[in-house]
Symmetry: C2
Subunit: 229 residues, 2 copies
């Protein structure tokens, strides 16, 4: 039978996934605003940001209540404190989406410097990382978390590629410098979001590995494993 506490943890899990969905949407709107040269979509990112901020506060509050009233230990404790860190990361990913949207509005007022191919690809990978790291966390799936870390290299590779390409534009024609710098910043924001997701994925792996080591230590009774609580 499901206890009230288990139901609360379930609700926490659902809120985290919902918040991650809002962040994915904010990234998508911001990048689509650039790709489709539609500044109204940038506006949607700004509105999404308010919802993301509200969710951060609400989830933080719920976590504190759970800690204060339920005295969780071991896995549940780690789950709740991890949730509190995750929402901080999600909120900052939302901030980066807002930065992208701001740059999109500026860029949409100028002639397009180049076709956007790698940037939407970077955004797509980054969104998948946000989604999957949350899934890895709630399903305690270290394999999925590792695949998130691996995708960070793809994003870094695309970032380096776009960066070099933009430098070529800048060298070739000084009229392109301002737009190229805006685009470099867009890429850097996407890279930052991917970094946040990777940091979270590393935390998930660490948390699960710690449990494995702890478990081994428990089995050996009094062995010197890393104790996560």
């Amino acid at each position: 039978m499901e206890t009230h506490f288990q139901k609360e943890l379930q609700e926490l899990e659902e809120s985290l996934l919902k918040m991650a969905g809002l962040v994915e949407g904010a990234i998508s709107d911001a990048v689509q605003s650039l790709v489709k040269r539609d500044s109204d979509l940038a506006q949607k990112t700004f509105e999404g940001e308010d919802k993301i901020n509200d969710m951060e506060l609400a989830i933080d509050d719920s976590c504190l209540k759970l800690l204060a009233l339920r005295h969780p230990v071991a896995t549940d404790l780690r789950f709740i404190t991890s949730a509190m860190k995750i929402i901080t990361d999600l909120e900052r990913m939302g901030d980066q989406a807002v930065n992208i949207a701001e740059r999109a509005i500026s860029l949409n007022q100028e002639p397009q410097l180049k076709p956007y191919i790698d940037i939407p690809r970077m955004a797509e990978i980054t969104q998948s990382m946000v989604k999957d790291v949350l899934d890895a966390f709630v399903n305690q799936d270290p394999k999925l978390a590792r695949s998130v870390c691996e995708r960070d290299d793809l994003v870094d590779g695309l970032n380096d590629q776009v960066f070099r390409e933009l430098l070529t534009y800048m060298y070739g024609d000084s009229q392109t410098i301002a737009r190229a710098v805006h685009l470099m910043i867009v890429c850097r924001c996407l890279e930052r979001i991917a970094d946040h997701a990777t940091n979270l994925a590393e935390d998930v792996i660490f948390m699960l590995d710690a449990r494995v080591i702890k478990h081994h230590a428990d089995v050996k009774e009094g062995g010197e494993g890393r104790n996560i609580t």
Copy 2:
């Protein structure tokens, strides 16, 4: 008489201040490496980074133990969960210092583009923000936390100024573009560190305001204040 739990909280506070000190040192070494064109100092930043990462894990572990064994509530609970978030920020500030050190090594291999005046100034303000936001947290000083937020505007202002100046170099002579981009990234890293400090300062203000409102609600007996636990 001081309880064992109070002593543990005191130790946690000291560890946080020590970790913040390491981060300040890492920023200082990284920027001095650039200003003095001394790549050995960049090496010191990399070594400092290892210590910062170790402290993050150790403090996180201590916090989990305190939550599991002491069942803290109200202010103590908020203090411990805030500490867990703060160390994540401190660790990422350390990452940014490493990014600066990497750029310094690249830049030190080329002729110096311009005298570095605003960048050390940005670094100095940023270091003061890291120090003061931790002091504001442990001394529960909202005024100091607000002054940290105000300094973020100074850093952003200097960043914009250096950014415009570097754009002028880039427009004037395409040979300067690569170095100017490295310097833009150094500034962006400092700005990111200042953002982390500002986020933390906002959390401190929010935490203290919440307590004030809660206190007022308690005084009114059953009033509808924001309850932080």
